[in-house]
Symmetry: C2
Subunit: 161 residues, 2 copies
């Protein structure tokens, strides 16, 4: 199969055919032509899909990923971009780690109510101050999209006052 059809690509990559069509429409991948009206792909599309999957996993949007391919189709990934994304991930990891530790403590805390646990309250302040937003991506739970606007909250000392 040196010229897989959409079903073959879907099978090998694990990416649904509908998504492959969508990606093609977006310019993220390309079919080499049609055979009896059906898309024919180059085997290289598999590597490209892997690259796209990696980009998504790293937190890049499809539009950002599209910019990482030269017009000729070869990946051309700016090292600075990678560093910047790594830094972003660092931030995210920091927040999530703090949140995880707080959750775990609260889960084991002997205080009768969470509101009486100092750690929980500290966590509460961190969250309300807008230092975080909403993590997740679909790794375990089914999701929780995100902030679309970029609000972030000024929060001049809400509760407890």
């Amino acid at each position: 199969m040196d010229h897989p059809d959409i079903a073959e690509v879907a099978r090998r990559s694990g990416v649904p055919a509908s998504t492959l069509r969508f990606y093609e429409e977006k310019g993220l991948i390309a079919s080499t032509g049609r055979r009896a009206g059906r898309r024919v792909f180059d085997p290289g599309v598999l590597q490209r899909l892997a690259l796209i999957a990696m980009g998504r996993a790293a937190g890049f949007s499809l539009d950002e990923i599209a910019l990482m391919f030269a017009p000729d189709g070869r990946p051309r990934i700016d090292r600075e971009t990678l560093r910047a994304k790594a830094d972003e991930l660092d931030e995210t990891i920091r927040h999530l780690t703090a949140m995880r530790d707080g959750l775990r403590h609260a889960a084991d805390c002997p205080a009768p109510s969470h509101m009486e646990c100092p750690t929980f309250r500290r966590l509460l302040r961190a969250a309300e101050s807008g230092a975080m937003s909403a993590p997740e991506g679909g790794l375990s739970g089914r999701s929780a999209p995100a902030a679309a606007g970029g609000r972030r909250a000024p929060a001049p000392r809400p509760a407890d006052g």
Copy 2:
């Protein structure tokens, strides 16, 4: 101001008035009544909003958060739920950490093209195998919703073959 109006709550909490109305409609918060047709809140709504912010930061959906309040309005958070979410965050953190390390290595890798860097290629395999999805929440970049379906990709050894 022991009975703040919506503007006051918005100011103190950093949550836009539109969001407060939305949260009220969703049953996440409640106003104590109306004064000249306008919402009047109890000061306790601020703590409640903090709780909601924390829940969001921990990756809970608004619907999940809604379940964490007893009908009488008091928070009643199951410790098991917290533990489960902490475990989820652990997973997420693990993935993001691997991705971050890979990105950073790739950024500093002396290989002329990323495709020639073994670490980058390893990263690629990890991503394509569907071990990840799409992280982020709005912490630095402006977003990247997530996988809603729960696809995850079988991926029987895509590229490189």
